[in-house]
């Protein structure tokens, strides 16, 4: 508890500090490449025949995903706290890469825990982390994926708490992480809201984003929470099916539980053992979800749906071939649902999809599934 309290105090202090805010804003603009465009996917819109589909291009950020918004914020915080050793977990490897980049830029030492199964699925990102100077620790325990990497990072943190900062990659874990990571990611929604008002002159009908831990989705939802006419859709990984062990959709297929220091929705069996998950996208492969999403669902403010592996692959192909943009398999889940949604809306309406990452990391997996 003490390290969490120390973190909360430090975050409260520095997040209000003008020099911290200025340094972070500078890094986000000049190092990460903010603001990102809000792009009207005209070909996709025509293809679907319905509402205009706008893409919030987080895939264009340095590193290829929204993850850098959070890692720069937290790495800067760690530096202000005087912690030089940074540990992180990673699923698809995007958070690990973004951590390695932020640490290299800020002169910090990064060590990343990654499930050995994920290391096989996302070799490219393992190399990238190593080239950026980070040490990658394979995690062989449990299901050898993201959840186990978090377990291992937490174990490291309690062991080395005095000089180590745990840079969590999503809106999960104990307080203050879900709040802090949301704040760092909320830049996505702030920009998107201003951009859509400028480009369309009015708010969108819906905002759609994929949900694993839920950081890109909470980041884009946050600025629209009080716009009650804007429907918010979180898309979970439907995997093969909604049967136990075949998906990564805790909000749709799980129930209330406690995992990694948070009370939220968890995929679990009847006696409370956490279930293994399955998704074609390693970044969504997590049995829990940020507690704020659980709240938004039960409060009725956001809706949570699933898209299957196959649906994501189809959407990947559509966006690649119609728009010349290869989405990350995670983001392809959101694209798929947005296409379905757009079809049932008028041509004067618009939808924003958070294109949270680019698909280069996934080409090997996709090549296996989409033989030409």
């Amino acid at each position: 508890m003490e390290p969490l309290r120390e973190l909360e105090d430090a975050y409260n202090k520095f997040s209000r500090d003008p020099s911290f805010k200025k340094e972070l804003a500078g890094l986000l603009d000049d190092f990460a490449g903010r603001p990102t465009p809000l792009y009207l996917a005209a070909n996709l819109t025509r293809h679907v025949g319905g509402a205009k589909i706008y893409l919030k291009r987080e895939d264009l950020l340095h590193g290829g995903a929204h993850k850098i918004n959070n890692t720069l914020g937290q790495a800067l915080l760690a530096k202000r706290m005087g912690k030089r050793r940074i540990i992180a977990e990673t699923g698809a490897g995007q958070h690990g890469v973004a951590t390695a980049m932020a640490c290299a830029a800020l002169g910090l030492h990064a060590e990343v825990y990654m499930g050995s199964e994920d290391m096989d699925r996302q070799k490219l990102n393992v190399y990238r982390m190593q080239m950026l100077g980070a040490k990658v620790h394979p995690v062989e325990s449990g299901s050898k994926t993201l959840k186990d990497a978090i377990n291992e990072a937490l174990r490291d943190w309690v062991t080395n708490v005095q000089d180590t900062y745990y840079l969590l990659g999503s809106v999960v874990g104990p307080h203050p992480y879900p709040t802090m990571v949301r704040d760092f990611q909320s830049v996505i929604g702030k920009e998107a809201r201003t951009q859509i008002l400028r480009q369309e002159g009015r708010l969108p009908k819906a905002v759609v984003a994929c949900v694993g831990g839920g950081s890109n989705s909470i980041g884009i939802f946050h600025s629209f929470l009080h716009d009650l006419d804007v429907d918010l859709y979180g898309v979970e990984a439907g995997g093969e099916s909604l049967s136990p062990g075949q998906n990564a959709a805790p909000l749709v297929a799980g129930r209330e539980g406690v995992l990694h220091g948070m009370m939220t929705y968890v995929l679990q069996d009847e006696v409370g053992q956490v279930q293994t998950t399955r998704s074609i996208s390693a970044g969504l492969d997590y049995p829990g979800v940020g507690p704020e999403h659980a709240f938004l669902m039960t409060a009725g403010r956001a809706k949570y749906v699933t898209v299957s592996d196959e649906g994501a692959l189809d959407a990947f192909r559509s966006l690649s071939q119609l728009e010349g943009i290869m989405p990350a398999l995670e983001s392809a889940h959101a694209i798929s649902y947005a296409m379905k949604l757009a079809k049932n809306l008028g041509t004067m309406d618009s939808i924003i999809v958070n294109l949270s990452g680019r698909g280069d990391k996934d080409v090997e997996i996709i090549a296996k599934h989409l033989p030409q």
């Binding site: 003490e2 377990n151 309690v158 406690v258 220091g261 006696v271 409370g272 956490v274």
Partner: protein
């Protein structure tokens, strides 16, 4: 409905009894259902026959974040044999009806939540459980659970770490029943070669704050008789040994009777060390 069987504060009574004999308590841990129900029962009896003063049984969980590789592996073994919280509580019930030793259960919060807090605690009490440790339930979040534990006459045992602030430690001491579980190092469970001087310092500090109102037991990384005597000599009322025993189980999967023999022998020497501490 409050549970019917009285607790009689058996844990604190055990500490008083040992104290009057100049001994510390040896609290011996095994993971419930590891490696299978039958061996677990036999191994528990070996602990008791070896002289364990209190037996601590872990409810295996899929994601034991406070545990090192030894107990992680034992949890996986138990789960793969179909261990459930109810099944383990039933086994404790069988043991507690045969042996007078107090039982403590360690469970992560989610299996308890899945069964329902009240149902879990009622069942635990009926099975003769005297105390409970929930490593991922901080004192700040535990009012509901603590009140239910009180209602069911189960001692709620909280953890304190070397970096726990004095303010928080005061709360933890105030709300703990049975004993305070002092985590004697920065890290997770698992045998270590040596005990850090920091651990002994922490014991002295916590003991002076506890002012004799509640026993203090040290755990995490305590695996050898020398560690046990060192923590008892530093003032701890008890020493908790887990991974060192669970490792014996894991090392003798193909020879369960050898596991029993080794467990009994190891517990005997660990128990002996709680006596050496008194002179």
């Amino acid at each position: 409905m409050p549970s019917t069987s009285p607790n009689d504060d058996r844990i604190e009574a055990k500490f008083r009894e040992l104290h009057s004999r100049g001994e510390g308590a040896l609290i011996a841990y095994l993971t419930g259902g590891d490696p299978d129900p039958k061996s677990f029962l036999a191994n528990s009896i070996a602990l008791i026959e070896g002289g364990a003063d209190i037996v601590e049984v872990g409810i295996p969980f899929s994601d034991p974040i406070a545990d090192g590789p030894v107990i992680q592996a034992s949890s996986m073994r138990a789960l793969s044999q179909g261990a459930t919280p109810t099944g383990i509580l039933d086994m404790i019930g069988g043991l507690s009806s045969q042996f007078p030793v107090p039982f403590v259960v360690l469970s992560y919060y989610n299996p308890i939540l899945a069964m329902g807090l009240d149902r879990f605690l009622k069942k635990a009490r009926e099975s003769g459980v005297d105390g409970i440790v929930v490593p991922d339930l901080p004192v700040e979040e535990s009012d509901e659970f603590r009140n239910l534990a009180l209602k069911h006459n189960i001692d709620n045992i909280y953890l304190a770490a070397p970096n726990t602030s004095r303010t928080r430690l005061r709360t933890v001491l105030d709300r703990s029943k049975g004993f305070l579980y002092l985590v004697s190092l920065y890290g997770v469970t698992g045998p270590r070669d040596s005990l850090s001087p920091q651990a002994l310092e922490a014991i002295r500090a916590v003991k002076s704050m506890a002012k004799g109102k509640i026993p203090v037991s040290a755990g995490f990384g305590i695996s050898q008789p020398e560690h046990v005597s060192a923590v008892i000599q530093s003032g701890a009322d008890g020493a908790i040994v887990g991974s060192a025993l669970v490792r014996i189980v894991g090392n003798h999967l193909d020879d369960p009777s050898e596991a029993e023999t080794q467990l009994k022998k190891t517990v005997q020497s660990l128990k002996e060390a709680t006596r050496l501490g008194s002179d």
